[in-house]
Symmetry: C2
């Protein structure tokens, strides 16, 4: 890892060259580098925490002056119980995952002695732009080395001292490994993001880790493919046949388990036939957890009739396009499954949406027709997460329509190449004519 003051274009060129070396290292060489990184960070613990304390002092000052939010200060702090240990354990967890490089996913005999193979390989150079959390740097460096990708890291300025200390430790560790120094680069120069985003000839994938605003800015300002999501506007459709207590449990969990998360519930669609039966117990359960309900006229009237004790606000159209990220929920009445599907496809963010119903038929229709990365039946939207899906680690959650969708694990950092091994085969002898050879196209086992 180099701590670079090089220009963005020099950094990107060096990363591209390094990516070609890194892509050919054995799994053992990549895993050994991760072991060295872990040991190096463990040995540098005191230095890193001291650097982090200096960042924290400045940040607390800025927060006191009203220039920085308290939540950002909290995210900066590496000395919080368990955070350091989690960061270190994460490196070994990534090391111990199955190797994503060199997986054969297709083998076809085109003709005698002419065999085609599709093999997974790294994408190339990743650009990771992140905000305060200093542990991201160790996490991303580990994911990059494991997946054989080079990475350029650009962190928020509030954590500069922490980043530099962590980078030094990782850099020294990688110097004892076969991973080229410039495969992982920390760019510390300020205000270089626009320049980095212009380098689509060297950088193959951008991964923003931070606020919606950061992600949106990056998506709107680069030709480099961006993996991630700007919004998480998740909806639940409450159908009349749903079990009332199950519905209340799932809706409460989806909304209140961690309201600031992208996979939290923002819009509840209630079938009109369910207004008198299901909405009151659900609304009571939400109110008991402190959730503010913003209802359309029909659902408000129903609640005023059947649960007059609850306070309910009026929803505006904008509420159905808002990611509240807080204990506020927009409630809308729909008359049918197809209305619910149409609402979600038009207003949602294609992240994770759920139907609560006891009808398998309606559930399957919902899951087929809703155009989102996650479509759930009778389960909390909060399950949308790489760790919960069993991917071992998570690069992010993607609402893209190509490459990777939903929670993205190491697989999302891979592409493939076709290897063709022949014995001097030429194309001119194949064709439709009488004197021509035909392709065999025999599927071969993947070993």
């Amino acid at each position: 890892m180099s701590l670079t003051n090089a220009s963005p274009v020099e950094a990107a060129k060096a990363a591209k060259s390094a990516s070609h070396v890194l892509a050919t290292l054995s799994p053992d060489a990549r895993n050994s580098a991760l072991t060295a990184m872990h040991a190096g960070l463990a040995a540098a613990r005191d230095d890193i925490l001291a650097a982090n304390a200096r960042d924290l002092d400045l940040a607390r000052q800025a927060a006191a002056d009203g220039k920085l939010s308290q939540s950002l200060v909290a995210r900066l702090d590496l000395s919080k119980p368990g955070k350091w240990e989690d960061m270190l354990k994460g490196i070994l967890d990534v090391r111990d995952l199955g190797d994503p490089v060199g997986r054969v996913t297709l083998r076809t005999r085109l003709d005698d002695g002419l065999e085609l193979e599709r093999v997974s390989c790294p994408i190339g150079v990743l650009l990771i732009i992140f905000e305060a959390r200093p542990e991201v740097i160790a996490n991303i460096a580990a994911l990059a080395v494991k997946s054989g990708n080079a990475a350029i890291l650009k962190g928020g300025k509030e954590s500069t001292e922490s980043f530099v200390a962590i980078s030094r430790a990782i850099s020294a560790a990688l110097d004892t490994s076969q991973v080229p120094n410039s495969a992982i680069q920390l760019v510390t120069t300020r205000d270089v993001i626009p320049e980095l985003l212009a380098l689509d000839q060297y950088i193959d994938l951008a991964i923003p880790r931070g606020s919606n605003e950061l992600v949106r800015y990056i998506k709107n300002n680069t030709r480099i493919p961006v993996l991630g999501h700007a919004d998480g506007l998740c909806a639940i459709y409450l159908e009349q046949s749903a079990d009332p207590s199950m519905a209340a449990d799932v809706i409460v969990d989806s909304k209140t388990n961690y309201p600031a998360a992208c996979n939290s519930l923002e819009t509840l669609l209630v079938q009109d036939a369910a207004l008198p039966t299901l909405l009151p117990p659900v609304a009571r359960a939400l109110a008991a957890k402190g959730v503010e309900l913003r209802c359309d006229a029909v659902s408000k009237a129903a609640l005023q009739q059947d649960a007059p004790d609850l306070t309910v606000l009026d929803a505006t159209e904008a509420d159905f396009a808002t990611e509240f990220l807080s204990l506020t929920l927009a409630v809308k009445t729909v008359s049918s499954l197809s209305d619910a599907i149409a609402h979600i496809n038009a207003h949602g963010s294609h992240h994770t949406d759920c139907i609560l119903t006891s009808s398998r038929k309606q559930a399957e229709q919902f899951m087929a027709a809703v155009d989102s990365s996650g479509v759930y039946w009778n389960a909390s939207t909060r399950f949308a997460d790489g760790t919960r899906y069993g991917f071992g680690t998570e690069v992010g959650i993607s609402t893209n329509k190509i490459h990777s969708r939903g929670p993205v694990g190491l697989e999302g950092l891979m592409i493939y190449k076709y290897k063709l091994r022949g014995r001097g085969h030429v194309s001119a002898v194949y064709g439709e004519g009488e004197s021509k050879k035909r392709y065999v196209h025999q599927r071969l086992p993947l070993e």
Copy 2:
């Protein structure tokens, strides 16, 4: 299929809505639509060929006035022997491919009664921008319907009459099917490409079919992901241990089988040790086929010594970054495998590159280190093609680093979604603590 004079944004919105219907149609419904398209086109043969003849008249006139190239006129002509039949047969070939929708690629039990499934689904709305060849419209409409994607088609103005006639026939056929009319739209309004390229909120993937200039223009002017390749700058590295006659055969085929194709050879890298032994017979074989050699100083000197009968030109640096698309070949001397790899990674277009050698070790090293969609050992670069790879059809060849790489079949038009089926499961009960449940993460068979 609608022949739309709607504004681009209206067309794109309608296509997005239609995509949500199309995505849920059964394989039978999509295949029946393809059968109807085939029959409709067969019945409209005379009308379509008459319309094509009118396009051809105008194009021949324009060519006579020097405003259009003869090759473009040739590509326009649907009445050339076999072209009409191939177009019709292509629709049935696509129909008869395996269904790409609804393939389950991962199943995991997260807990009792909580099962995760990853299922292939259409991407959504495709934008196809193509030039003269009118048969592309039938081909693309077939691929879109088969893959469950909506498509907006924008063709070159030279084939307008042919497009309109083909569209009418397809439209009438689709009206007898369950495929919504606006799922396939032909935009006939002129000069709307910039507007279409701005509609990234409705259009999920752009596929240009035409010249390098067209592809480059589109890649540089949209935030929509673009599937394709602007350049095909393929190289062969001739290593000293290669069999001389095998080498000559493969190089001649790669260069001369169809020089205008993207998978044709443009740069020959010769190991210095192979200059006296392998280059002369290879150069003679190429010269016999009319290939003009542009050599660096070292390879030129070698040929003047060992094959003084051949005419050889001087290469400039620019020749090693040029896709000639003609019977011209740039020849460069390199001293080692790693030099060859470095040259290809720096100068190539990451399309298809080949090593000729009898050393398995060098071949495997080359295939691991060259960062191209196709890496070949002792086989012609001309094999880089979806039909030759056995994909049944080809959407195009991609040099992208994400999603799809190399020849792209129907699979390249698919993405996936995660379906999660529960029984009221909530996330709050899972965790690391003593009172918490653990995820099971049991891989299930794919059925």
